[in-house]
Symmetry: C2
Subunit: 315 residues, 2 copies
Amino acid sequence: MLITELFNIKYPVVQGGMIWCSGHKLASAVSNNGGLGLIGSGSMHPETLEEHIIKCKDETTNPFGVNVPLLYPEMDRIIDIIIKHGVKIVFTSAGNPALWTAKLKKHGIKVVHVVSNVKFALKAQEAGVDAVVAEGFEAGGHNGKEETTTLCLVPEVVRAVKIPVIAAGGVGSGAAMLACLSMGAQGVQVGSLFAATEESSAHVNFKQMIINAREGDTQLSLKKHIPVRLLKNEFYQQVKALEEEGGSAEELAELLGKGRAKKGMFEGDIANGELEIGQVSSQIKEIKTVEQVMQELITGYNRALTRIQLLDHYR
Amino acid sequence: MLITELFNIKYPVVQGGMIWCSGHKLASAVSNNGGLGLIGSGSMHPETLEEHIIKCKDETTNPFGVNVPLLYPEMDRIIDIIIKHGVKIVFTSAGNPALWTAKLKKHGIKVVHVVSNVKFALKAQEAGVDAVVAEGFEAGGHNGKEETTTLCLVPEVVRAVKIPVIAAGGVGSGAAMLACLSMGAQGVQVGSLFAATEESSAHVNFKQMIINAREGDTQLSLKKHIPVRLLKNEFYQQVKALEEEGGSAEELAELLGKGRAKKGMFEGDIANGELEIGQVSSQIKEIKTVEQVMQELITGYNRALTRIQLLDHYR
């Protein structure tokens, strides 16, 4: 089932519910442009999330959802707010999908879980989710230990599960979106492109860092702690130095400390903050509107598809 | 220009010229089945290469080529042998494409250079090569420092150069091949699938390790020395331990020593050898013939393409 049917949206494009980037402005803009907008609750207190949901409902009559990292505190309150305000779609990540899926589905909510390997895709399917996001190594932010890339992960997950698969990680253009659908994905989740839009709530300094990023300017880091893809700023250099001299998981966690992602992505301290973004950042050259990004994805997809031809039958 | 025209082959599939796997048997089988077979000279003395070229010409009347890592000793002799025996296609990797491209082209040889970033793609184009292979992070063997995945690398290289781009790394099925052509590649280079074929000269123990590989069973390693994607065997565990305690480039080079790739991939010492293979190894479940692999790639590509549809025009 194409995710356009599952979510009742026009285009098979989900905007990733990224911390510090995905408030009601971004989510409603994506939904108003035919995609599925997600509010990223991972960087919100419950009352902040409630405010964003209310504003998002004001700003769009189209379906939107909320991304919920299942390891965060106050899960009960977050889930209650989502149910209370009639949100119809929830994307869960991290944590165990078996914990909340049944409750959400009992309230008529579509549930999608984000995975980085086949094992967890099967676990999520068993927990009753409606779809999975298969997110590859090139994605920004937290990432799988196996380091499986989108091109390797998506065909394996598609083969393993019966539910729709949404590809994530590395979707920087309509051509890459077509690549993901070629592998059997029923849609794509796009993060970095939307993090750098006008409607993103990221600090303009962070958006400018994304614009300036070139090849090789992100790196999967903190692997002994929790793997996360970071933009190479001064903070990253400290992480790298500690990793190269054999720093332990504890030392890395201590260096990271608390609040670094907010400091970098929301407050704009680009030297000392934690800047989470995907490898496709090197393809982003300017701050665009959500409408432009959506239009380029769809027209780019169609243009790429018209170039592709069948091969001669084998023998 | 599709690489089928460039090389005068039926299908846009190149078999990677892998060390210890790609002798005359593998190369001629791929060429006889409509792809482009490459003899991997990286693991051959010049006289061995000469023998393989002569046998390959006996075994196929279709075009085939030789892969030459430009950093190896005795480059003069290798190039002379290639010219002497009328080989018409050379894939170069590592090293500087400016050194040999002009000489090869003067003898009517098509030259393709393997790159892992845009910078070297442009350098190769400037050196006059006919095409580039853009090889992503998921590929087996030696790999780029930027860790750019195929899904992120190919669109960038396609945008940057005017010559045809051949995508490599992560091509484990016809669907993944379609994904690469979706991104504007004019063909694919396939390594791991062919390393595990009957016609591959790899030791059967190594082929069996490929068959047994599961998700996350390969890892880009030796990054302080020369990055290489390895299968996780006992030798890899030693590398990992040394890396985690902050071992230096020199210590890693010493642990690697000499002849480990031959020991593992050709002699079958799967514990102590260096086993180079791509992430797609987890998708390989049995030893097949080259004919089967080629047939599955082409029919899988066509089947995947028939599932894909245009999206509604944007607005």
